[in-house]
Symmetry: C2
Subunit: 210 residues, 2 copies
Amino acid sequence: MRIDPEKLKLYLVTDRRFNPDPLVEQVRRAIAGGVTCIQVREKNTSTGEFVELAAELLKLCREQKVPLIINDRIDIALAIEADGVHLGRSDMPIALARKLMGDRYIIGATASTIAEAQAAEASGADYLGVGAVVATATKADHSQVIGLDGLAKVCKSVSIPCVGIAGIDQTNAKAVRQTGAAGIAVVSAILAADDQQAAASQLRTAIENL
Amino acid sequence: MRIDPEKLKLYLVTDRRFNPDPLVEQVRRAIAGGVTCIQVREKNTSTGEFVELAAELLKLCREQKVPLIINDRIDIALAIEADGVHLGRSDMPIALARKLMGDRYIIGATASTIAEAQAAEASGADYLGVGAVVATATKADHSQVIGLDGLAKVCKSVSIPCVGIAGIDQTNAKAVRQTGAAGIAVVSAILAADDQQAAASQLRTAIENL
Protein backbone atom coordinates (compact mmCIF):
# COMPACT_ATOMS: atom_id res chain seq x y z
CA MET A 1 0.00 0.00 0.00
CA ARG A 2 1.51 3.30 -1.11
CA ILE A 3 -0.53 5.43 1.26
CA ASP A 4 -1.32 4.72 4.90
CA PRO A 5 -5.12 5.19 5.19
CA GLU A 6 -4.49 7.01 8.50
CA LYS A 7 -2.85 9.77 6.44
CA LEU A 8 -6.11 10.28 4.55
CA LYS A 9 -8.06 11.13 7.69
CA LEU A 10 -8.05 14.92 7.29
CA TYR A 11 -7.05 15.78 3.75
CA LEU A 12 -6.63 19.41 2.71
CA VAL A 13 -6.90 20.53 -0.92
CA THR A 14 -5.30 23.94 -1.36
CA ASP A 15 -6.90 26.98 -2.96
CA ARG A 16 -5.14 30.32 -2.72
CA ARG A 17 -8.32 32.33 -3.32
CA PHE A 18 -9.54 32.18 0.28
CA ASN A 19 -6.68 33.85 2.11
CA PRO A 20 -3.92 36.20 0.90
CA ASP A 21 -1.24 34.80 3.21
CA PRO A 22 1.61 32.79 1.67
CA LEU A 23 0.31 29.28 1.01
CA VAL A 24 3.11 27.68 2.98
CA GLU A 25 1.98 29.59 6.08
CA GLN A 26 -1.62 28.50 5.59
CA VAL A 27 -0.54 24.89 5.18
CA ARG A 28 1.67 25.15 8.27
CA ARG A 29 -1.36 26.26 10.32
CA ALA A 30 -3.52 23.50 8.86
CA ILE A 31 -0.97 20.82 9.74
CA ALA A 32 -0.55 22.30 13.22
CA GLY A 33 -4.31 21.89 13.62
CA GLY A 34 -4.23 18.23 12.60
CA VAL A 35 -4.35 17.97 8.80
CA THR A 36 -2.81 14.63 7.74
CA CYS A 37 -2.38 15.04 3.96
CA ILE A 38 -1.92 18.01 1.60
CA GLN A 39 -3.03 18.17 -2.02
CA VAL A 40 -1.72 21.27 -3.76
CA ARG A 41 -4.01 22.46 -6.49
CA GLU A 42 -2.94 25.35 -8.76
CA LYS A 43 -4.73 26.09 -11.99
CA ASN A 44 -3.38 29.47 -13.10
CA THR A 45 0.25 29.28 -12.08
CA SER A 46 3.19 28.99 -14.45
CA THR A 47 5.15 25.75 -14.35
CA GLY A 48 8.22 27.52 -13.02
CA GLU A 49 6.30 29.15 -10.18
CA PHE A 50 4.44 25.90 -9.44
CA VAL A 51 7.75 24.02 -9.11
CA GLU A 52 9.00 26.61 -6.60
CA LEU A 53 5.77 26.63 -4.60
CA ALA A 54 5.55 22.85 -4.51
CA ALA A 55 9.19 22.49 -3.45
CA GLU A 56 8.59 24.89 -0.57
CA LEU A 57 5.50 22.95 0.52
CA LEU A 58 7.33 19.63 0.21
CA LYS A 59 10.02 20.82 2.61
CA LEU A 60 7.35 21.65 5.20
CA CYS A 61 5.40 18.44 4.59
CA ARG A 62 8.51 16.26 4.95
CA GLU A 63 9.38 17.97 8.25
CA GLN A 64 5.84 17.34 9.45
CA LYS A 65 5.61 13.80 8.03
CA VAL A 66 2.54 14.69 6.00
CA PRO A 67 2.26 13.39 2.41
CA LEU A 68 2.22 16.02 -0.36
CA ILE A 69 0.07 15.19 -3.38
CA ILE A 70 0.10 17.35 -6.55
CA ASN A 71 -3.20 17.92 -8.32
CA ASP A 72 -3.12 17.00 -12.02
CA ARG A 73 0.53 17.85 -12.82
CA ILE A 74 2.76 14.80 -13.10
CA ASP A 75 5.63 17.00 -14.31
CA ILE A 76 5.54 18.98 -11.06
CA ALA A 77 5.32 15.83 -8.94
CA LEU A 78 8.30 14.27 -10.72
CA ALA A 79 10.31 17.50 -10.65
CA ILE A 80 10.12 17.91 -6.88
CA GLU A 81 9.73 14.20 -6.02
CA ALA A 82 6.44 14.74 -4.24
CA ASP A 83 4.57 11.80 -2.72
CA GLY A 84 2.04 11.53 -5.50
CA VAL A 85 -0.56 13.05 -7.78
CA HIS A 86 -4.32 13.36 -7.72
CA LEU A 87 -5.97 12.91 -11.11
CA GLY A 88 -9.41 14.34 -11.81
CA ARG A 89 -11.59 13.31 -14.72
CA SER A 90 -10.06 15.84 -17.11
CA ASP A 91 -6.47 15.02 -16.14
CA MET A 92 -4.15 12.32 -17.47
CA PRO A 93 -5.58 8.77 -17.62
CA ILE A 94 -4.55 6.82 -14.51
CA ALA A 95 -2.84 3.96 -16.34
CA LEU A 96 -0.74 6.38 -18.40
CA ALA A 97 0.22 8.30 -15.26
CA ARG A 98 1.25 5.05 -13.57
CA LYS A 99 3.40 4.15 -16.57
CA LEU A 100 5.19 7.53 -16.40
CA MET A 101 5.55 7.63 -12.62
CA GLY A 102 6.41 4.06 -11.77
CA ASP A 103 5.49 2.22 -8.61
CA ARG A 104 6.87 4.63 -6.06
CA TYR A 105 4.30 7.43 -6.37
CA ILE A 106 0.82 7.58 -4.87
CA ILE A 107 -1.91 8.10 -7.48
CA GLY A 108 -5.32 9.29 -6.32
CA ALA A 109 -8.36 9.54 -8.54
CA THR A 110 -11.83 11.07 -8.47
CA ALA A 111 -15.03 9.00 -8.53
CA SER A 112 -18.74 9.57 -8.06
CA THR A 113 -20.09 6.14 -8.94
CA ILE A 114 -19.29 2.51 -8.21
CA ALA A 115 -18.36 2.00 -11.86
CA GLU A 116 -15.92 4.90 -11.83
CA ALA A 117 -14.44 3.81 -8.52
CA GLN A 118 -13.87 0.23 -9.63
CA ALA A 119 -12.40 1.36 -12.97
CA ALA A 120 -9.99 3.68 -11.15
CA GLU A 121 -8.92 0.92 -8.78
CA ALA A 122 -8.39 -1.45 -11.72
CA SER A 123 -6.28 1.22 -13.47
CA GLY A 124 -3.92 1.46 -10.51
CA ALA A 125 -5.30 4.22 -8.26
CA ASP A 126 -4.14 4.03 -4.63
CA TYR A 127 -7.02 5.98 -3.12
CA LEU A 128 -10.16 7.78 -4.27
CA GLY A 129 -11.68 11.18 -3.68
CA VAL A 130 -15.41 10.44 -3.71
CA GLY A 131 -18.17 13.02 -4.01
CA ALA A 132 -19.69 15.42 -4.24
CA VAL A 133 -20.94 14.60 -0.76
CA VAL A 134 -22.86 17.89 -0.64
CA ALA A 135 -23.42 20.54 -3.34
CA THR A 136 -20.76 23.23 -3.02
CA ALA A 137 -19.57 26.50 -4.52
CA THR A 138 -15.95 25.31 -4.58
CA LYS A 139 -15.18 23.37 -7.74
CA ALA A 140 -15.65 19.66 -7.11
CA ASP A 141 -14.32 18.28 -10.39
CA HIS A 142 -17.81 18.48 -11.90
CA SER A 143 -18.95 15.63 -9.69
CA GLN A 144 -22.62 14.92 -9.22
CA VAL A 145 -23.99 15.16 -5.68
CA ILE A 146 -24.12 11.63 -4.28
CA GLY A 147 -24.82 12.29 -0.60
CA LEU A 148 -23.76 10.18 2.37
CA ASP A 149 -25.57 7.14 0.99
CA GLY A 150 -23.76 7.34 -2.32
CA LEU A 151 -20.45 7.78 -0.55
CA ALA A 152 -21.08 4.72 1.63
CA LYS A 153 -21.89 2.60 -1.43
CA VAL A 154 -18.77 3.67 -3.32
CA CYS A 155 -16.56 3.07 -0.26
CA LYS A 156 -17.89 -0.50 0.02
CA SER A 157 -17.36 -1.20 -3.70
CA VAL A 158 -13.55 -0.95 -3.69
CA SER A 159 -10.67 -2.18 -1.57
CA ILE A 160 -8.64 1.05 -1.78
CA PRO A 161 -9.35 3.79 0.78
CA CYS A 162 -11.85 6.55 -0.06
CA VAL A 163 -11.99 10.16 1.04
CA GLY A 164 -15.29 12.03 0.98
CA ILE A 165 -15.08 15.36 -0.82
CA ALA A 166 -17.14 18.52 -1.40
CA GLY A 167 -19.27 20.37 1.06
CA ILE A 168 -17.70 18.81 4.14
CA ASP A 169 -17.42 20.98 7.24
CA GLN A 170 -17.75 20.85 11.02
CA THR A 171 -21.48 20.07 10.78
CA ASN A 172 -21.18 16.87 8.74
CA ALA A 173 -17.57 15.70 9.15
CA LYS A 174 -18.44 12.96 11.64
CA ALA A 175 -21.32 11.65 9.51
CA VAL A 176 -19.03 11.48 6.47
CA ARG A 177 -16.47 9.43 8.38
CA GLN A 178 -19.22 7.12 9.62
CA THR A 179 -20.01 6.09 6.03
CA GLY A 180 -16.81 4.04 6.03
CA ALA A 181 -14.66 6.68 4.35
CA ALA A 182 -11.02 6.68 5.43
CA GLY A 183 -11.17 10.44 5.73
CA ILE A 184 -12.60 13.76 4.71
CA ALA A 185 -11.22 16.17 2.13
CA VAL A 186 -11.81 19.85 2.73
CA VAL A 187 -10.95 23.16 1.13
CA SER A 188 -12.89 26.15 2.44
CA ALA A 189 -13.76 24.56 5.81
CA ILE A 190 -10.14 25.24 6.75
CA LEU A 191 -8.83 27.77 4.26
CA ALA A 192 -11.74 30.22 4.52
CA ALA A 193 -11.72 30.14 8.32
CA ASP A 194 -10.51 33.16 10.27
CA ASP A 195 -8.44 30.80 12.40
CA GLN A 196 -7.22 28.09 10.03
CA GLN A 197 -5.43 26.09 12.72
CA ALA A 198 -8.48 26.08 15.00
CA ALA A 199 -10.74 25.07 12.10
CA ALA A 200 -8.45 22.13 11.30
CA SER A 201 -8.29 21.15 14.95
CA GLN A 202 -12.08 21.17 15.32
CA LEU A 203 -12.49 19.01 12.19
CA ARG A 204 -9.86 16.60 13.45
CA THR A 205 -11.62 16.29 16.82
CA ALA A 206 -14.98 15.71 15.13
CA ILE A 207 -13.65 12.78 13.10
CA GLU A 208 -11.63 11.25 15.94
CA ASN A 209 -14.69 10.62 18.10
CA LEU A 210 -16.83 8.40 15.92
CA MET B 1 22.76 16.71 -32.05
CA ARG B 2 19.18 15.97 -31.09
CA ILE B 3 17.64 18.21 -33.74
CA ASP B 4 18.70 18.58 -37.35
CA PRO B 5 19.01 22.37 -37.89
CA GLU B 6 17.30 21.88 -41.26
CA LYS B 7 14.17 20.96 -39.33
CA LEU B 8 14.20 24.39 -37.67
CA LYS B 9 13.95 26.24 -40.98
CA LEU B 10 10.23 26.99 -40.86
CA TYR B 11 8.97 26.43 -37.33
CA LEU B 12 5.27 26.81 -36.53
CA VAL B 13 4.03 27.55 -33.01
CA THR B 14 0.34 26.70 -32.72
CA ASP B 15 -2.39 28.98 -31.44
CA ARG B 16 -6.00 27.89 -31.82
CA ARG B 17 -7.35 31.44 -31.55
CA PHE B 18 -6.75 32.34 -35.19
CA ASN B 19 -8.84 29.73 -36.96
CA PRO B 20 -11.77 27.60 -35.77
CA ASP B 21 -10.80 24.53 -37.83
CA PRO B 22 -9.50 21.45 -35.98
CA LEU B 23 -5.85 22.09 -35.14
CA VAL B 24 -4.73 18.88 -36.82
CA GLU B 25 -6.19 20.15 -40.11
CA GLN B 26 -4.44 23.50 -39.76
CA VAL B 27 -1.16 21.75 -39.03
CA ARG B 28 -1.66 19.43 -41.99
CA ARG B 29 -2.02 22.46 -44.30
CA ALA B 30 1.03 24.13 -42.76
CA ILE B 31 3.18 21.04 -43.30
CA ALA B 32 1.86 20.67 -46.85
CA GLY B 33 3.04 24.25 -47.43
CA GLY B 34 6.53 23.52 -46.16
CA VAL B 35 6.59 23.87 -42.36
CA THR B 36 9.48 21.78 -40.98
CA CYS B 37 8.76 21.70 -37.22
CA ILE B 38 5.64 22.01 -35.05
CA GLN B 39 5.49 23.38 -31.52
CA VAL B 40 2.09 22.83 -29.94
CA ARG B 41 1.23 25.52 -27.43
CA GLU B 42 -1.93 25.19 -25.33
CA LYS B 43 -2.51 27.32 -22.27
CA ASN B 44 -6.13 26.73 -21.31
CA THR B 45 -6.62 23.07 -22.11
CA SER B 46 -7.05 20.30 -19.56
CA THR B 47 -4.27 17.74 -19.30
CA GLY B 48 -6.55 15.00 -20.58
CA GLU B 49 -7.59 16.99 -23.64
CA PHE B 50 -4.00 18.12 -24.26
CA VAL B 51 -2.81 14.49 -24.25
CA GLU B 52 -5.43 13.59 -26.87
CA LEU B 53 -4.69 16.61 -29.05
CA ALA B 54 -0.93 16.08 -28.87
CA ALA B 55 -1.26 12.38 -29.69
CA GLU B 56 -3.31 13.22 -32.77
CA LEU B 57 -0.74 15.81 -33.90
CA LEU B 58 2.12 13.37 -33.25
CA LYS B 59 0.57 10.81 -35.56
CA LEU B 60 0.44 13.39 -38.36
CA CYS B 61 3.94 14.71 -37.63
CA ARG B 62 5.47 11.23 -37.66
CA GLU B 63 3.82 10.48 -41.01
CA GLN B 64 5.21 13.73 -42.38
CA LYS B 65 8.63 13.35 -40.70
CA VAL B 66 8.24 16.68 -38.93
CA PRO B 67 9.36 16.96 -35.28
CA LEU B 68 6.64 17.70 -32.71
CA ILE B 69 7.71 19.86 -29.78
CA ILE B 70 5.40 20.49 -26.77
CA ASN B 71 5.40 23.96 -25.24
CA ASP B 72 6.06 23.94 -21.50
CA ARG B 73 4.46 20.63 -20.54
CA ILE B 74 6.97 17.86 -19.91
CA ASP B 75 4.18 15.57 -18.69
CA ILE B 76 2.45 15.80 -22.07
CA ALA B 77 5.71 15.26 -23.98
CA LEU B 78 6.53 12.16 -21.91
CA ALA B 79 2.97 10.83 -22.10
CA ILE B 80 2.83 10.81 -25.90
CA GLU B 81 6.58 10.41 -26.50
CA ALA B 82 6.82 13.61 -28.51
CA ASP B 83 10.16 14.74 -29.93
CA GLY B 84 10.77 17.38 -27.28
CA VAL B 85 9.66 20.39 -25.27
CA HIS B 86 10.12 24.12 -25.57
CA LEU B 87 10.69 25.88 -22.27
CA GLY B 88 9.95 29.57 -21.87
CA ARG B 89 11.22 31.73 -19.03
CA SER B 90 8.30 30.88 -16.73
CA ASP B 91 8.45 27.15 -17.44
CA MET B 92 10.54 24.44 -15.79
CA PRO B 93 14.27 25.15 -15.46
CA ILE B 94 16.16 23.55 -18.36
CA ALA B 95 18.51 21.43 -16.23
CA LEU B 96 15.60 20.00 -14.23
CA ALA B 97 13.71 19.21 -17.42
CA ARG B 98 16.79 17.47 -18.84
CA LYS B 99 17.05 15.39 -15.67
CA LEU B 100 13.41 14.29 -15.96
CA MET B 101 13.45 13.68 -19.70
CA GLY B 102 16.82 12.07 -20.24
CA ASP B 103 18.98 12.41 -23.31
CA ARG B 104 16.51 11.34 -25.93
CA TYR B 105 14.27 14.42 -25.98
CA ILE B 106 14.90 17.75 -27.69
CA ILE B 107 14.78 20.70 -25.29
CA GLY B 108 14.38 24.18 -26.73
CA ALA B 109 14.60 27.38 -24.72
CA THR B 110 13.81 31.07 -25.11
CA ALA B 111 16.47 33.79 -25.10
CA SER B 112 16.70 37.50 -25.81
CA THR B 113 20.26 38.21 -24.78
CA ILE B 114 23.69 36.67 -25.21
CA ALA B 115 23.81 35.92 -21.47
CA GLU B 116 20.46 34.09 -21.56
CA ALA B 117 21.42 32.19 -24.69
CA GLN B 118 24.74 31.02 -23.30
CA ALA B 119 23.16 30.04 -19.97
CA ALA B 120 20.51 28.01 -21.81
CA GLU B 121 23.15 26.25 -23.91
CA ALA B 122 25.18 25.47 -20.79
CA SER B 123 22.04 24.06 -19.11
CA GLY B 124 21.49 21.59 -21.92
CA ALA B 125 19.22 23.31 -24.45
CA ASP B 126 19.38 21.88 -27.97
CA TYR B 127 18.15 24.98 -29.80
CA LEU B 128 16.95 28.47 -28.96
CA GLY B 129 13.94 30.58 -29.87
CA VAL B 130 15.41 34.08 -30.01
CA GLY B 131 13.44 37.30 -30.03
CA ALA B 132 11.41 39.29 -30.09
CA VAL B 133 12.66 40.11 -33.58
CA VAL B 134 9.83 42.62 -34.04
CA ALA B 135 7.19 43.89 -31.58
CA THR B 136 4.05 41.78 -31.92
CA ALA B 137 0.53 41.36 -30.61
CA THR B 138 0.96 37.57 -30.27
CA LYS B 139 2.53 36.65 -26.95
CA ALA B 140 6.29 36.34 -27.34
CA ASP B 141 7.18 35.03 -23.90
CA HIS B 142 7.58 38.59 -22.59
CA SER B 143 10.72 38.99 -24.64
CA GLN B 144 12.18 42.41 -25.28
CA VAL B 145 12.43 43.55 -28.89
CA ILE B 146 16.00 42.89 -30.05
CA GLY B 147 15.68 43.45 -33.78
CA LEU B 148 17.71 41.80 -36.53
CA ASP B 149 20.96 43.07 -35.06
CA GLY B 150 20.20 41.56 -31.65
CA LEU B 151 19.22 38.27 -33.27
CA ALA B 152 22.47 38.15 -35.26
CA LYS B 153 24.53 38.76 -32.10
CA VAL B 154 22.74 36.04 -30.13
CA CYS B 155 23.08 33.54 -33.00
CA LYS B 156 26.84 34.13 -33.11
CA SER B 157 27.20 33.72 -29.33
CA VAL B 158 26.20 30.05 -29.11
CA SER B 159 26.95 26.84 -30.97
CA ILE B 160 23.36 25.49 -30.88
CA PRO B 161 20.97 26.55 -33.66
CA CYS B 162 18.72 29.58 -33.15
CA VAL B 163 15.28 30.36 -34.52
CA GLY B 164 14.13 33.96 -34.79
CA ILE B 165 10.72 34.53 -33.22
CA ALA B 166 8.02 37.19 -33.00
CA GLY B 167 6.78 39.50 -35.70
CA ILE B 168 8.16 37.43 -38.56
CA ASP B 169 6.18 37.37 -41.79
CA GLN B 170 6.59 37.38 -45.55
CA THR B 171 8.08 40.90 -45.48
CA ASN B 172 11.04 40.13 -43.22
CA ALA B 173 11.48 36.33 -43.33
CA LYS B 174 14.47 36.47 -45.67
CA ALA B 175 16.20 39.18 -43.62
CA VAL B 176 15.73 37.11 -40.44
CA ARG B 177 17.36 34.08 -42.04
CA GLN B 178 20.22 36.26 -43.28
CA THR B 179 21.17 37.06 -39.67
CA GLY B 180 22.54 33.53 -39.36
CA ALA B 181 19.42 32.06 -37.73
CA ALA B 182 18.75 28.41 -38.58
CA GLY B 183 15.14 29.28 -39.15
CA ILE B 184 12.11 31.40 -38.47
CA ALA B 185 9.33 30.71 -35.99
CA VAL B 186 5.89 31.97 -36.90
CA VAL B 187 2.39 31.88 -35.48
CA SER B 188 -0.06 34.28 -37.12
CA ALA B 189 1.87 34.58 -40.40
CA ILE B 190 0.53 31.11 -41.17
CA LEU B 191 -2.36 30.50 -38.80
CA ALA B 192 -4.16 33.81 -39.41
CA ALA B 193 -3.87 33.51 -43.20
CA ASP B 194 -6.94 32.77 -45.28
CA ASP B 195 -4.93 30.11 -47.11
CA GLN B 196 -2.64 28.58 -44.49
CA GLN B 197 -0.89 26.24 -46.92
CA ALA B 198 -0.14 29.06 -49.36
CA ALA B 199 1.13 31.27 -46.54
CA ALA B 200 3.49 28.51 -45.39
CA SER B 201 4.63 27.90 -48.94
CA GLN B 202 5.38 31.60 -49.53
CA LEU B 203 7.40 31.80 -46.31
CA ARG B 204 9.31 28.67 -47.22
CA THR B 205 10.15 30.08 -50.65
CA ALA B 206 11.30 33.37 -49.11
CA ILE B 207 13.80 31.65 -46.82
CA GLU B 208 15.05 29.18 -49.43
CA ASN B 209 16.38 31.89 -51.71
CA LEU B 210 18.90 33.70 -49.52
